[in-house]
Amino acid sequence: MGADHRAFLQATLPHLDAVWQVARQAAAGGQDPEDLVQETYLRAYAGFGSFRGGNARAWLAAICLNVARSQARRRRRRPWEVPGPALLDVLPWSRADGGESTADVADVVIAGLDAEEVSRCLALLPEPQRVCIVLVDVAGYTAREAAETLGCPRGTVLARVHRGRRKLAQLLAEAGVSHGQP
């Protein structure tokens, strides 16, 4: 075992959280997001020799999306189908960084239900808009990184994000959930 896997981990592990955000939304048909992250890193490691030192975050996201799509095809399920129960674990008390645990129980429950509703509405968006929102708003990629991930112009990413956000807000308003400031 040489030093190449250590170089690989050094270059890619700092982006684990971003890959995790993408994997949580991309995991389809009961697929475990942690398995998807692991498979993403194993595929990335297998192709690390051909990686030319560009943006590792964008490269990892592209692999993660490809793995999710190919596994979804294999399972013959709809891609980007987010399992409902998994969404309830966005509750604040599950934060690993020791986040607020003193929140009012009603607020916590409402936040969990909101997340479930947001996820349901997000799943209704056309895939290009959904992917752009996941990359930019959920995983925190810049428009440039998202464009590199998807192989399209940055202006296209910005337009998809904008259209997707508006549609998402409209769907949530129809469902009686509001996230905007008054």
């Binding site: 690989f8 981990l9 692991q38 708003d137 956000r165 996230h179």
Partner: protein
Amino acid sequence: MDNHDRDHRMLAAFLAGELDPAETRRWDEHLLACERCWRAVREDREGRQAAQVLRQPAPPGLADRVAFAVEVAAAGRAAAQRRTGRGIRSRRPGRHARRVRWRLAGAGVVAAGVVATLLVALLPGGRQAGSVPAAVAAVARYAQAIPPPTGEHHPQRAAPVEVGRPVTVMAGGQQIVLRTWRLGGAEAVVAVSGHPFPMPARAQGVSGRGMAWSARLGRLGLYCLNGRTSELVAAPVPAAQLAALAARLPLA
């Protein structure tokens, strides 16, 4: 691109802060007068805030799990490269190279014999397991980190306590969940898989336990029960203690 589409892209660029100061000022003024565009801005903000609700920190054990999976893959790749290297060298060489090779091969056979003798004589537990399947090797590699048992342990009285978090890896085409348990002064790794752990070449069947087997890898004892799920216990304890230790651990 029609006017509507162009406006969309301009508004998206405005919201992303990517317009130059003059264009930004023009859009600011336009928004004060255009209810349609102002609604678009409001919906964009609401949609962004809603999407951010879905952010969740990565589970604490995920980095370790990923790093371990990559290490296992790296070990497998190194082994494959060694095999490929042998394959390339086996092309028919010239006469001089063949003569050198025969001499090297003779020296290699002698050296291998010496090393094998030393292994048998020096390794705890006597014989080293021969060909080790990838799934078993991955478990053994993970269990290498376990410290040897302390002298004062009383596993028959202690209750098992889980150490750290479970780790899931893929090795040899099978998914394996690894848990570390402490029982008295001894620690052990329990690996669970939906597929049977293949039996290493020098493992021994356990009489009266169906497809169970035990083996020794250096200082590690391995004890495997193959059933509907397959459990492999790895611990740095003598073979005589391993079955008793496994019986006290939560296996599935």
